[in-house]
């Protein structure tokens, strides 16, 4: 594909890094999102473990495991776990909902990270209490910034 000088400059200005920088969620947006999840309740620290590599080479596919301590019986179980990002374009990454028969409140998946940041895991128990945990990670290659489509 031949790229003219003009289209290259257009691409540089409008497509590459600039919209991503503007689109970053700020820490306060993450805090707002957490507030929306917990409502009036005050999340306590503990019972949730978020496992993510401390150094990530490629932000496009980052393996992640979240685990909440709970007996997972019909009377005492984890209802939901929310993963929140500080610096992705959108603060929500993924939310998991568990039934009482989930057996174990543990999920592994793969996510995208724009940059080095702190991730939060908020767990909602069936008794209405909230618990939080966090993990810090350093990302060397950001998700998507290199992707300029033809």
């Amino acid at each position: 594909m031949s790229t003219s000088r003009r289209s290259f400059i257009v691409a540089l200005g409008s497509a590459s890094v600039v919209p991503w920088l503007n689109a970053q969620a700020t820490t306060s947006e993450a805090v707002e999102t957490i507030k929306k999840i917990v409502g009036q309740a005050e999340p306590r620290v503990g019972r949730v473990t978020l496992e993510i590599a401390p150094l990530v080479e490629n932000g496009n596919l980052v393996p992640m495991t979240v685990l909440a301590e709970s007996p997972m019986t019909s009377t005492d179980f984890v209802k939901a776990i929310h993963i929140i990002s500080e610096k992705n374009p959108l603060p929500n990454i993924v939310s998991f909902n568990f039934g009482a028969r989930a057996g174990r409140a543990q999920v592994s998946t793969r996510i995208r990270l724009l940059t080095s940041q702190r991730l939060w895991a908020i767990a909602e128990m069936n008794d209405g209490s909230f618990w939080q945990g966090h993990a810090d990670t350093v990302v060397t290659l950001a998700a998507c910034t290199e992707d300029v489509l033809v």
């Binding site: 289209s7 257009v10 200005g13 596919l61 998991f96 909902n97 568990f98 028969r101 989930a102 793969r110």
Partner: protein, 109 residues
């Protein structure tokens, strides 16, 4: 992305009653985030899977709400408690009418 795509579910075929069964699922999907641009600076529309659910023995055991920050070809490893012999139903739904579903049977002894 087409309206449906390939899915793979990996789990044991048999389990003893009360055992915690590991389940791994993966679905083929680009998960276009809606934050990428073409060379001309035109934003590529978002096209992602929004929802994944696993139903077993008449109850929802696991559900995930997906956002653009999920990696391409979303995969989940999760668990369920074996209660009785039956089928597990896995369903994915997403933007532009995307829907996929697959069932898997579990024999409980």
């Amino acid at each position: 992305m087409s309206k449906t795509s390939r899915t793979v579910v990996s789990m044991p075929k048999t389990a003893t009653k009360g055992e915690i069964v590991p389940i791994r699922v993966i679905v083929q999907h680009d998960m276009e985030s809606g934050f990428r641009h073409t060379e001309r600076g035109v934003r590529v529309a978002r096209d992602i899977i929004r929802d994944f659910v696993c139903i077993y023995d008449g109850a929802e055991v696991f559900r995930a709400e997906l956002h653009p920050a999920m990696g391409a070809n979303p995969t989940f490893s999760f668990f369920t408690k074996a209660t009785q012999t039956g089928t597990l139903e896995f369903k994915w739904t997403g933007d532009n009418g995307y829907a996929s579903s697959v069932t898997s049977s579990l024999t409980v002894t």
